[in-house]
């Protein structure tokens, strides 16, 4: 019966899905990805700097006990409100993939990851009346965007001791954004128009992190990341723009008061305002610094098999970098819960998380989303 419930949840998830897409990802480079595994999402992201399947901090890879591959699916059901009205939206993403494990006979652990850096998935419709040849003509414009920036990371962690580890990662910033505008006319003398473009992104970043177990119950971590800038190329044209990417710093704390309970918190700050001048110069609205804070817990009922039906709870609060109007701030906060089920002698696991997220820039721009994620982990 429990397995049946898992499958039913998986079946129902896509229909009630919404993920990283957001109307607050229309401007700038899009809405940033969270680079968290489903386990971390279930705790509001609080465990992401201690979770080896997340790619927020390179040092967390030290927790990999063996070769592990993780694949994440995230979907959402979203109600987005702007002056044109409120619309129910849904879509599905694959925001995270990672594979890695310890390197035999060394103190090193390596990990390769693909994660979503920013997402620009949207489709906006603008009905209007324009004057053509002196006559008013009704038109309907559609602007569509799919894609975004991805982060391919190669992480290596060195374990100094049983309690301390330091990690470094190289990040290849890549990806593409397919854009499409179309216009149809009510007057059939005018032919439908469509223009397409593909923006290609390229950049390089590095990150470092340190992880230390201060006591049997307390672990801390810190990380820093610099992504330099991203070069944006439209189709085959020469490089047209460079946009500075942020330097991010963060830290987290993990407290294990009992063998079955873990609690964690983290803060991550990014100076996206460094991209402001580039974005404004290119005709955009601008960019703001962001900060993300999260706290959560994981309760394990079965100490011998912690992957079986743990209870995860958490919340997060933060700011998003790209406002829709100059000078505005976009805030995001959410609560989440999740669980998981390991099987095949813990060589495979399914994790689930459900998150309720609110994003707002002040009236009338806001949205509420149910984010539902499923992660598949395999330890061959």
């Amino acid at each position: 019966m429990r397995r049946l419930l898992l499958v039913l949840l998986a079946v129902g998830m896509p229909a009630s899905a919404a993920a990283q897409s957001s109307q607050f990802g229309v401007r700038g480079l899009g809405i940033p990805g969270r680079q968290q595994s489903v386990r971390a999402l279930g705790t509001g992201g609080a465990f992401s700097m201690f979770d080896p399947q997340s790619t927020v901090s390179p040092s967390s890879v030290a927790y990999l006990q063996g070769m592990t591959a993780t694949f994440t699916v995230m979907s959402d059901y979203r109600d987005a409100t702007n002056p044109a009205g409120t619309t129910s939206l849904r879509d599905t993403h694959f925001p995270q993939f990672a594979i890695g494990g310890p390197i035999s006979h060394t103190k090193l652990t390596a990990n390769f990851s693909y994660s979503n850096y920013t997402t620009r998935d949207y489709s906006l419709v603008f009905p209007a009346t324009v004057i053509l040849r002196g006559v008013p003509v009704q038109v309907s414009d559609t602007i569509e965007s799919r894609g975004g920036i991805n982060d391919l990371g190669l992480t290596t962690v060195f374990r100094f001791s049983a309690r301390w580890a330091v990690g470094a990662a190289a990040h290849i910033i890549t990806g593409s954004n397919r854009l499409d505008i179309s216009r149809v006319f009510s007057d059939t003398n005018y032919l439908p128009a469509r223009q397409r473009a593909e923006l290609s992104f390229s950049g390089f970043g590095v990150s470092i992190g340190v992880l230390g177990q201060l006591s049997r119950t307390l672990t801390i971590t810190a990380m820093a990341r610099s992504d330099g800038h991203v070069s944006i190329q439209e189709d085959s044209l020469p490089i047209r723009a460079n946009v500075d990417l942020p330097i991010s710093v963060g830290g987290g704390i993990l407290w294990r008061p009992t063998a079955k309970l873990q609690m964690a918190g983290q803060v991550l700050a990014s100076n996206w305002s460094g991209a402001n001048d580039d974005i404004v110069a290119a005709g955009g609205v601008g960019a703001n610094n962001t900060i993300q804070a999260a706290a959560g817990l994981e309760f394990t009922s079965n100490r011998r098999r912690p992957g079986r039906y743990p209870l995860r709870l958490g919340f997060h609060w933060g700011k998003l970098p790209f406002p829709l109007t100059p000078g505005a701030e976009v805030k995001e906060y959410g609560i989440s819960g999740g669980s998981g089920y390991s099987f095949a002698a813990d060589r495979a696991a399914l994790d689930f998380s459900v998150e309720r997220v609110w994003r707002e820039q002040g009236d009338p721009y806001n949205e509420q989303a149910w984010l539902v994620s499923v992660g598949v982990t395999v330890r061959p």
Binding site: R3, V11, S75, A84, T87, L89, L191, R194, A282
Partner: protein, 399 residues
């Protein structure tokens, strides 16, 4: 079923459910400028005028001998126009084979069949056949030469066409005394020559199918051999010659642009092509504007189609056309209003530079329609022009 198998089965089922359940609905109404990176598409208009002295008329593409109809009318397309058809039927033999013997015969009856099309806006349209001299020189037909024979004394017969039918097959049956008008004397050497006119309550015109069409004119004779207990023998004669003559033959003014007529005239117009309309812009409408120098000619309900085709390559008058590049318009008649033809599908070929920015104008079906138009040219002070609406390249890279 083992536990391991069950677990794998459940995992596979969950994965399949995930993958098959993916769906997307991302379309929402937007609000500009907040939700419009790059703004909204901006429409622009451009007028491209024909290059000086690069608009010309060329005549003779299709000769009247290639047509499948004969244009016959009275007072149409213009009041000065009247046209008659002339049909020379192949000789009817003076004896027929009956019961294995050639025998003389008497004519029981004859029937003429003609495929016709006509102007349904005119009432009481009649197709009339007139007897013409069998010694008519078919190689030197003139309107003045044959029009004296279109008099009541030479009337063979006629038939009124249904007012509402665009086309019909006219069958005129002659019997008894009516046969006197088609009696063949020895001097005729079996040849019957008839003239065809079309008249109505008001000036009108129509079309008569000729021997190049699917249903050529027929001269059917029902003959009775001179023998005891004769039976009726039918003999059908098809045209040996058919053509038509008109009261006036329009001339082509080289300073103007003439399209249509018999033989057919086409117009070649070359345009400049500005860089701002290169392949990065999206053309949504392009209208070729032509100003008539005189009222357009034609007949009600039988208008020809003005075709505007792009060129595959510019070799002047013999340029091949791009088959998929076409704009067309049912050419209105008796109008001096500017003629506008939508040719966005033509000019879009010009954007990549693969096709020359030039068009051929023609009226189809060539030499089978009364439609004819004479437009002003760059030499007469009013140039053909193309009014183009387009969207410039959208600034996709604006964040």
């Amino acid at each position: 079923m083992s536990g391991a198998f069950r677990r794998r089965w459940w995992a596979a089922l969950a994965s399949a459910a995930l993958l098959t359940g993916c769906s997307e609905h991302l379309t929402q109404p937007g609000q500009c400028p907040e939700l419009c990176p790059g703004g909204i598409p901006e429409g622009r208009e451009e007028v491209v005028t024909a290059l000086n002295n690069q608009d010309s008329t060329f005549t003779g593409y299709t000769q009247r001998a290639s047509g499948t109809v004969m244009l016959v009318g009275s007072g149409a397309p213009t009041a000065a126009d009247t046209s008659y058809a002339v049909i020379v039927f192949k000789p009817r033999p003076d004896s027929i084979s009956f019961r294995d013997t050639l025998r003389a015969y008497t004519v029981d009856s004859v029937r003429f069949s003609l495929l016709t099309g006509h102007d349904t806006a005119t009432r009481n349209v009649r197709v009339q056949l007139y007897r013409l001299p069998s010694r008519l020189n078919a190689n030197a037909l003139t309107f003045a030469g044959i029009s004296p024979f279109f008099v009541p004394a030479n009337l063979i017969g006629g038939q009124q066409l249904p007012d509402t039918a665009l086309g019909d097959t006219v069958r005129i049956l002659l019997k008894g005394a009516q046969l006197d008008q088609v009696a063949l004397a020895p001097a005729d050497e079996g040849m019957l020559v008839v003239g065809v006119s079309i008249t109505g309550d008001t000036p009108t015109a129509g079309k008569i199918g000729n021997d190049r069409g699917a249903l050529p004119p027929e001269f059917l004779s029902y003959l009775k051999p001179i023998v005891a207990n004769p039976a009726t023998v039918a003999i059908t004669e098809l045209p040996a010659f058919n053509d038509y003559v008109s009261r006036q033959v329009p001339t082509v003014d080289p300073t103007l642009l003439t399209v249509g007529g018999v033989p057919s005239s086409r117009v070649l117009i070359r345009f400049p092509w500005p860089a701002r309309l290169s392949d990065s812009a999206t053309i949504v409408r392009a209208t070729l504007e032509l100003v008539p120098a005189q009222p357009t000619e034609g007949v009600r309900n039988q208008e020809g189609i003005l075709n505007v085709q792009g060129l595959a390559a510019d070799f002047g008058a013999k340029s091949p056309v791009e088959p998929t590049s076409l704009g067309s318009l049912l050419l209105p008649f008796n109008t001096t209003d500017t003629i506008r033809v939508e040719i966005a599908n033509v000019v879009r070929f010009w954007q990549g530079g693969l096709r020359p920015p030039a068009v051929f104008l023609s009226i189809v079906p060539e030499v089978e329609t009364y439609s004819r138009a004479v437009f002003r040219s760059t030499r007469s002070g009013v140039s053909p022009q193309i009014r183009i609406n387009f969207l410039p390249r959208f600034p996709f890279s604006e964040p």
